[in-house]
Symmetry: C2
Subunit: 167 residues, 2 copies
DNA sequence: TTTTAATTTCAAATATTATTGAAAGTTTAA
DNA sequence: TTAAACTTTCAATAATATTTGAAATTAAAA
């Protein structure tokens, strides 16, 4: 396999993986492209490489910036904007975990807490509902805290975690 | 909040959460419904509760069964099939983690391994590509192993993990 | 200023994914 | 067997999400 083929395969796999996890293809592919690029890329560069429109590129770049994994960069003497990806895989994972937690997991945990606190009336239906939603709440809350603590350990969190966990 | 409201809120939140993680709404909602139901439900029951068609119900039940988190159950003397959810939240998490790992993460790891093993030609482009895809490979592979080990610990994995990790 | 380059926005078009419903298939019982 | 009860399949339809492209906006240069 030569470079161009490998690169295309990487970009399309990354896009497909994103899709199965609720992240749109263009967003994942733009990220993939920037992640492997040794130099900052302009919007034109990205549009051309991925064959997508200006609007699409602009919107998804903004999302990536909102997620904290892509940054704008200005080239001296150049008017147009360039973009670079977060290059540290650890920081990338940290950022993605943080954002998904904040946007999706934590709101769901709040709902679980709410609904599991209704007054029971002694029927099997309500008792089971309360019991099961409480269990889910506990699991989600614990897993979420665990994730955030792992991910917030300053350096090499994953290595440290593995060492602690299996020694 | 009374039961009916809480129940609807739980089911719709679960559906919405599923959606943001690449799981279709009907599948997530059927699961939610079964998970809080003290008794097995028939296809009719599910269709009626969620207001979805027979075909949709049938297809998504099959998927849930494929994922290993819903089981068929036969009621003595009854011809039609009933369905129950995995009730143990720990087992539920284990199963979901296992399946997502197997279906999506592991194939991606294999691709990362492949593409990061191309021959470098000394240019910045290929060197960066190899370096970055290798880093991603290492991260994904380690995180995947960690996830599987956590999730395969016999009982109370999450509690054990937390204890180990933060003591 | 005014002009030009670059970016963003957003309604419309397209593509993708989910859902329906009825026909075909299966299984049990008569 | 045949009929009835139930489930699955899948082409058609609907719903949702993504993408486009051109007009509007913003920002830098002349």
């Amino acid at each position: 396999m030569e470079f161009k083929e490998a690169k295309n395969k990487f970009i399309s796999t990354w896009g497909a993986l994103g899709t199965t996890w609720g992240i749109n293809k263009a967003m994942a592919q733009i990220h993939a492209l920037l992640f492997i690029s040794p130099d900052p890329l302009s919007m034109e560069d990205i549009m051309e490489e991925l064959g997508i429109s200006r609007g699409n590129t602009s919107m998804n770049l903004r999302q990536l910036i909102d997620w904290g994994i892509v940054y704008k960069e200005n080239m001296p003497g150049e008017r147009k904007e360039y973009f670079v990806s977060e290059k540290d895989v650890t920081e990338l994972a940290r950022q993605v975990a943080k954002e998904r937690s904040r946007r999706e997991i934590e709101p769901s945990i709040r709902v679980l807490s709410e609904v599991s606190n209704i007054e029971g009336d002694g029927t099997a239906k309500t008792e089971e509902f309360i019991k099961k939603t409480k269990e889910l709440y506990d699991l989600a809350d614990t897993a979420n805290s665990l994730l955030l603590r792992m991910v917030n350990q300053e350096q090499n969190w994953i290595t440290k975690t593995v060492i602690k966990l299996f020694k």
